[in-house]
Every structure is written in structure tokens, then in C-alpha cells.
């Protein structure tokens, strides 16, 4: 546990000086949010539009997807940066030399990565609501648990594959390529929960997504903890 905290504290403290992860994630997320909301007709995300075609989604239904797609891509950039910090000066090799459990390394980095992601969301989501003309009360505080389970899931995958792709030749390309299909359930789940919260003011029937996301978190946290040693060793 001491190791886990030491790793997480090291990453958070390094980032508080370098500021290369969270601000970059935030700016990137805002660019995407700006572009995506700008593309829609004014007020489209607010008004309860009747369903125009059978089977088609009302515009408000895609609000969540716009938001979480932006967050996902910002997250991938952040995870890549965070893993690269261990590669610079081969500092990560110092971790390999130390007599610590690889699962603890994974857990420490996971805590830091989830922290960066949550911090980014805490700024990006209110700004998104501002752009999309959504009243603050429509999403907060209900979205907080969504942020938590989604961040943990994305970070579970991103921390594992962020480290794994560091030694690949096209690492900045490989990371989104691998994480996108694997994280799809998280993106869909968080999107559906966000849209439902916005439309119905409660989760209702869609509460089942929380279960799916929690299962996802448990599965990938376990996988990451068990296989982290295989991706960091020579």
C-alpha cells in the first residue's frame, strides 16, 4: 500500500510541476466539445425534440455521446503522456529495479491517471454544459458517480496499454487503436447514463449500465494488476 501511494504521489507531484497531462487533456476535450456542439443546430441539445424517424434518436439523446467521445480521446492523450513520463530518462527502469510488486505499480499509476481524468472532467463538463446551454442542475450532482466508474474503467485500460505501447514504434497511434474498441462499453455506458439523466432527471431503467460499468472496472482492474508485469518487463 505504501508503494501504491508512493507511485501515485510521485505522478501527481511530477504533474503538478510539469503540467503536461491534465491541461493538455482539458484543452483537447474542450476543442472536441466545441466542435461537436457547434455542429448541431442551436438549442438542439436542450429542447425535447420529438422522434422524427422511428428508431432514430432525439438530438438530446446524443448529448452524452458527444461529451464522452471528447473525454475518451482526451483521456487517451493523457494516458500516453503519463506513461511517457516513466520512459523519459528511463525512469521506469528504476521502478523495474525496485523490489516492488508490479500490481502495486499498476495501482499507483492507475490512481494518478484516474485523478488526472477526473480533474479534467470537473472542468470540462461544466464548460460543455455552458456551450450546450444545459442548466447546471440537470447533470450535477447525478453525473458524479458516472464520472467515477467511467474514469476508473478508462484508466484501467489506459494505464495498462499506455505502458504496453511505450516500446512500440508508433506508440501514439497504437494507444488509441487498442483502447478504443476495448473501452467502447465504458463510452456507451457513460453516454447513456448522461443522456438519461439529462432527459429524465434520473437513471430509471438505465441504472443497469452502472452494473455493466462496475463489472467492466473489476474485470480490467484485475487484468491490469495481473498482467502489468508482462508489459513492463524486458
Amino acid at each position: 500500500m505504501r508503494t501504491v501511494l508512493a507511485i501515485a504521489a510521485k505522478d501527481l507531484r511530477g504533474e503538478s510541476r510539469a503540467r503536461q497531462i491534465a491541461p493538455v487533456m482539458l484543452v483537447f476535450a474542450l476543442c472536441l466539445v466545441f466542435l461537436l456542439t457547434f455542429a448541431l443546430p442551436p438549442g438542439a441539445l436542450r429542447a425535447p425534440v420529438p422522434v422524427p424517424v422511428a428508431g432514430a434518436l432525439p438530438a438530446r439523446d446524443i448529448t452524452g455521446l458527444l461529451l464522452w467521445t471528447s473525454i475518451f480521446f482526451a483521456a487517451v492523450i493523457g494516458f500516453g503522456r503519463s506513461a511517457a513520463a516513466d520512459r523519459e530518462g528511463s525512469a521506469g527502469d528504476g521502478l523495474l529495479l525496485a523490489p516492488v510488486d508490479p500490481a502495486a505499480l499498476y495501482a499507483g499509476k492507475l490512481i494518478a491517471n484516474s485523478g488526472f481524468l477526473l480533474a479534467t472532467q470537473l472542468v470540462a463538463i461544466p464548460l460543455f454544459m455552458l456551450f450546450a446551454n444545459i442548466a447546471p442542475g440537470a447533470l450535477f450532482p447525478g453525473i458524479l458517480p458516472v464520472m467515477l466508474v467511467a474514469s476508473l474503467g478508462m484508466a484501467a485500460v489506459g494505464t495498462l496499454f499506455g505502458a504496453a505501447t511505450q516500446h512500440a514504434e508508433a506508440r501514439s497511434l497504437m494507444l488509441p487503436l487498442l483502447t478504443f474498441p476495448l473501452t467502447l462499453p465504458v463510452i456507451l455506458g457513460a453516454s447513456k447514463l448522461t443522456s438519461t439523466l439529462l432527459i429524465e432527471n434520473r437513471f430509471g431503467n438505465e441504472f443497469r449500465w452502472f452494473i455493466l460499468l462496475s463489472v467492466f472496472d473489476v474485470v480490467f482492474l484485475t487484468l491490469g494488476a495481473v498482467t502489468f508485469e508482462f508489459v513492463i518487463e524486458e
Binding site: 508503494t3 530518462g89 528511463s90 523490489p99
Partner: protein
């Protein structure tokens, strides 16, 4: 203390080491000599457990290097330090990983002559300062086995001259690579020559 038995290491099709058998007596300091590309760094990394041999076995104190991590201190070409942490924070971090009391950190900083720069970020350090801090990191947990890859590089004469007494501890086994023959004679009890990945 450090034993290599028929060790070979290939990187893809390139063979870095072939069929090295070597035994280093506990408590001795051995200098590893050889030109660039002769396999010195590879041999040290194998002993540190950072690389795995393609053939043969490496043991440190009778165990595989990865099971002897707490007994091994290693300093490579890179200091393994975080650029955005201060010298003191770096050592505190490694102290936590090695479960060493943090009170050792100021003592070590003084030993390597960096007491005045404890709170400076490592990214502001010169090559020699990084090297000395890297050495402090490698010795933080008072390892029985010390593996140093070109420890004199980047050090000024004064620091380089202090290095032998700095790394000396009773009973410690040290393997260090260098191409500086006089310094190697100074510090080592025995010299080993590597050439083209083989013992010469």
C-alpha cells in the same frame, strides 16, 4: 556472488554476448573493460535483471536477479530519475519503494555532494550532478551487490576521485564497467576484458 553460466544475449539477429561464464567472488570489486559495443552494458543489465538472457543463467547470491532486487544496486547510462521531481523527492520516492527510512536521504545527498541542491528539480541538473544523484539512488538501500555502468562518465576529476571510497562498503561485491584503465586499476581487485561479446 554474481555468477553467469553460459550466458548469451541476442537482440533480434544481433548477438551482444555469447557464452559468457563468469563468477565474481563476494566482497570483491571487479572492473569490466572493453571497447564500445563489446557487451559491457548488456552484461551489467543482465546481472541487474533488466534484461533476460537468451541462453544460459544469471544468478546473484544464488538467486535469479529478479528475486534479488533488494540486494542489487544498479546505475546505468541513464540515472533513472524523474526530471520534474527534486533530488530529495526522487530519493524519498525510491526510499519508499525500497522500504528504506527517509532519514537516510539527506545523509546520502551529503555523501555525493548534493546537499545544497536537495530541493532543485532534477531537470536543472548537469550531467555530472545527475550521475551523482543516480549513484545515490543506486546505493540508497545499501545493496550487497553494486553494478555500475561507466560510473566515471560525466564526473569531474574530484568527484571521480572520491567515487572509490564512496562505493566501498565492507563485504560489498561491485562490478563496474569503464574504459578508463588507470581508474579501473585504482578501484578494482580484478579486471575482466570483454571483446565482441566474449571474454578476452
Amino acid at each position: 556472488m554474481i555468477a553467469l553460466d553460459g550466458v548469451g544475449k541476442k537482440f533480434g539477429t544481433v548477438r551482444a554476448l555469447s557464452n559468457i561464464t563468469l563468477e565474481i567472488t563476494p566482497g570483491t570489486t571487479v572492473g569490466l573493460l572493453g571497447p564500445n559495443g563489446s557487451g559491457k552494458s548488456t552484461l551489467l543489465k543482465l546481472a541487474a535483471g533488466l534484461l533476460k538472457p537468451t541462453s544460459g543463467t544469471v544468478t546473484v547470491g544464488g538467486k535469479a536477479p529478479r528475486d534479488a532486487k533488494a540486494q542489487i544496486g544498479y546505475l546505468g547510462h541513464e540515472p533513472f530519475l524523474y526530471r520534474y521531481l527534486s533530488a530529495e523527492e526522487n530519493l524519498n520516492f525510491y526510499a519508499d519503494l525500497y522500504r528504506v527510512d527517509r532519514t537516510k536521504v539527506p545523509v546520502l545527498l551529503e555523501e555525493v555532494g548534493l546537499q545544497a541542491k536537495g530541493s532543485a528539480l532534477v531537470r536543472t541538473f548537469s550531467r555530472g550532478e545527475s550521475q551523482r544523484l543516480g549513484l545515490a539512488r543506486a546505493m540508497l538501500h545499501d545493496p550487497e551487490v553494486l553494478l555500475l555502468d561507466e560510473p566515471f562518465s560525466g564526473l569531474d576529476d574530484a568527484s571521480a576521485g572520491r567515487l572509490p571510497q564512496l562505493i566501498a562498503r565492507p563485504g560489498r561485491t561491485t562490478l563496474l564497467s569503464t574504459h578508463d584503465l588507470p581508474r579501473a586499476h585504482d578501484v578494482a581487485d580484478r579486471l575482466i576484458h570483454l571483446s565482441g561479446g566474449q571474454l578476452a
